[in-house]
């Protein structure tokens, strides 16, 4: 579903990251491990179409991601790539349901309304009209997962999704990500240094930086 070919990326003044070629098929999950500063998040941004690499290519379902430009890339990302961030980053002026519906709106796929479906799948149906500031951390993270899933993407990227959660919630979040990705047949990539996740997902790679 997603594959990378000899990506290179470097920030100014810092040696280039070593990013191995990787491939995740639909329904598979991959854990990306590494110390902080090893380029985990940078890799996730590159895979998510948020940050263009210096060199190399990212293929999503056979399509070269960065051959798309501007609005086309934005719409493609909205439709095909779901991203879960370390913090939920839910838009406070909107309700839970409106937050989850937002990807539908931005990628113009409102006809295919999956909001209620994912509220149910993630067990937050009772929070549908809740205000954002009344949610607990775990609930907020589930809302952000629902938002990442609502367009039924081909790829799900998660950046330290469990970092700020307790054991119980961390386990639930990883389980949800795994099961939903499997249901959608989507490729799941989780960037983390959280030991609790390692037991849940077998496949992993570890990133290193030359000088670290």
């Amino acid at each position: 579903m997603i594959a990378t070919k000899s990506i290179q990326f470097s920030y100014e003044g810092i040696p280039a990251f070593e990013i191995p070629d990787l491939e995740i098929r639909g329904g598979e999950a991959l854990l990306v491990l590494g110390k902080s500063g090893s380029g985990k998040t940078t890799l996730l941004n590159i895979l998510g179409g948020l940050l263009a690499p210096r060199k190399g290519e990212i293929l999503v379902d056979g399509l070269s991601l960065y051959s798309l430009k501007g609005q086309k890339l934005d719409k493609f990302r909205g439709k095909n790539i779901g991203i879960v961030f370390q913090k939920p980053h839910i838009l406070a002026p909107l309700s839970v349901a409106e937050n989850i519906a937002l990807p539908h709106f931005f990628s113009k796929s409102e006809a295919n309304d999956k909001v209620d479906h994912y509220l149910k799948e993630l067990g937050i149906m009772d929070k549908k009209h809740a205000k954002i500031n009344t949610l607990s951390e775990g609930e907020a993270q589930r809302v952000s997962i629902a938002r990442a899933l609502v367009n039924e993407p081909k790829i799900i990227l998660a950046d330290e999704p469990t970092a700020s959660l307790d054991d119980e919630n961390a386990r639930i979040v990883v389980q949800l990500l795994k099961s939903q990705a499997a249901k959608l047949g989507a490729a799941l990539l989780i960037v983390t240094h959280d030991q609790r996740i390692k037991s849940e997902i077998n496949q992993s790679i570890t990133l290193k930086r030359k000088d670290l």
Partner: protein, 408 residues
């Protein structure tokens, strides 16, 4: 969800900030609205009321006061002039017609104007009920007077001396309503019209009841016995030809007791004097609007700092740069649109209050329900301010660096 709704939700998330900005803008725009409404209607009304009157002749004093008192019935009369002199002037070949006015009494603040039927023709009045006066102490009420007093044809009332309410009453000579005028949006709406004779007889010490039953003069001057020294307040003059405009005022002013004043000249002088004040207030209103614009700019700019994450998240879930740009511009436009609409409403409401509390003054007869084309310009101006104020914040939103923002 739509872009408009999304913008609106973000404005609602900061209700106090939003309200403050809307009110500040509304304040500035409402001042401009009131000024525009008053200026337009006031000038219109002033010109309408002076139509057909080329010159006013009265006692010496301020020419502006003479015009205000005898054409618009707002200031005090300058004094009276002898009937003989008035009659003498009116025979001048430069004059086409004169209408004599005898002022000085009122009924509850509505001025009683002694005149002849030519005055009715001058303002092209139509009667809602009854007919014009025939005898002394017969009166015709303007539509507002009738509405306020509740009088109908056949009713009787007592006038008071002076042009303001609650002075000494002429209780020996009640007036009888014989006619009521249809609303005309002119000064006659607020006047009580009667014959010159009525005004004279009301002030006479002796009462000759036989005289009061005679028919009064319908045009020109009333006939008087030679030894009576009757007076008028003013003469409204129509020129026979354009030369009169040059010669007649000079001729009249050279006579010791009389003064001539041109309504159009005096009124344009008045507007010139008022114009300075109006420009000042207008300038102040414009500055308030600019400050409101600045307020909107600062509010958007600051809220953008807090919202960088939100904007980055929107990009991550499929929003394009252009959509974020539009989102912020819409917020500015929404704010100013609401401010403009509120401002226009407040402006009209303010004028309504002003007119209501000023029923017999200079602003009476103005309408708060009039919508002028200039008000569309106010709206356009406000939206322009909104777009201008949101341009820089919108550009910042357009340039949001998603990857950097989300991983901070």
């Amino acid at each position: 969800m739509s872009m408009l709704k999304l913008s609106w939700k973000y404005l609602l998330a900061k209700p106090w900030n939003t309200t403050l900005n809307i009110l500040l803008l509304a304040l500035g725009l409402s001042i401009i609205t009131v000024l525009i409404l008053i200026q337009d209607q006031f000038e219109n009304k002033m010109n309408r009321d002076a139509a057909g009157i080329d010159l006013v002749i009265g006692a010496k004093g301020s020419p502006l006061q003479l015009v205000l008192s005898s054409v618009y019935h707002i200031d005090f009369p300058t004094g009276n002039i002898p009937l003989d002199e008035a009659r003498g002037i009116s025979r001048n070949r430069l004059i086409k017609n004169t209408i004599p006015l005898g002022l000085g009494d009122n009924y509850q603040g509505f001025r009683i104007v002694g005149t002849n039927h030519d005055y009715l023709d001058l303002y092209e009045v139509t009667f809602a009920a009854g007919e014009a006066w025939n005898k002394a102490f017969d009166v015709v009420l303007g539509s507002r007077v009738a509405q306020k007093s509740g009088f109908e044809v056949g009713d009787v009332f007592v006038g008071s001396h002076g042009i303001e309410a609650a002075s000494h009453e002429h209780d020996e000579h009640p007036y009888r309503v014989v006619g009521i005028l249809a609303p005309s949006d002119k000064i006659v709406d607020q006047l009580i019209l009667t014959s010159i004779e009525s005004v004279w007889y009301a002030h006479d010490e002796e009462h000759d009841h036989g005289k009061m039953e005679e028919e009064v003069a319908k045009t020109g001057f009333p006939e008087v016995v030679a030894d009576e020294e009757r007076e008028l307040t003013t003469l409204l003059v129509q020129y026979r030809n354009p030369i009169a405009a040059v010669q007649l005022p000079r001729l009249v002013n050279s006579r010791s007791a009389l003064q001539a004043a041109s309504p159009s000249f005096e009124i344009s002088r008045l507007f010139e004097l008022l114009g300075v004040g109006i420009s000042l207030v207008q300038g102040l209103a414009l500055i308030i609007v600019l400050i409101a614009g600045l307020g909107i700019f600062i509010a958007l700019y600051n809220s953008l700092k807090e919202r960088k994450y939100d904007l980055a998240v929107m990009r991550a879930i499929g929003a394009s740069r252009e959509q974020l740009f539009v989102l912020i511009i819409l917020e500015g436009v929404l704010l100013t649109f609401l401010g403009a609409v509120t401002g226009l409403l407040i402006g009209h409401f303010f004028l309504y209050i002003l007119v209501m509390t000023n029923e017999q003054g200079a602003l009476s007869g103005l309408s708060a329900g009039v919508f002028l084309t200039q008000e569309w310009w106010i709206l356009a101006y406000a939206l322009g301010v909104g777009i201008l104020a949101s341009l820089i914040p919108a550009w910042n939103a357009y340039r949001t660096d998603i990857a950097n923002q989300l991983t901070k």
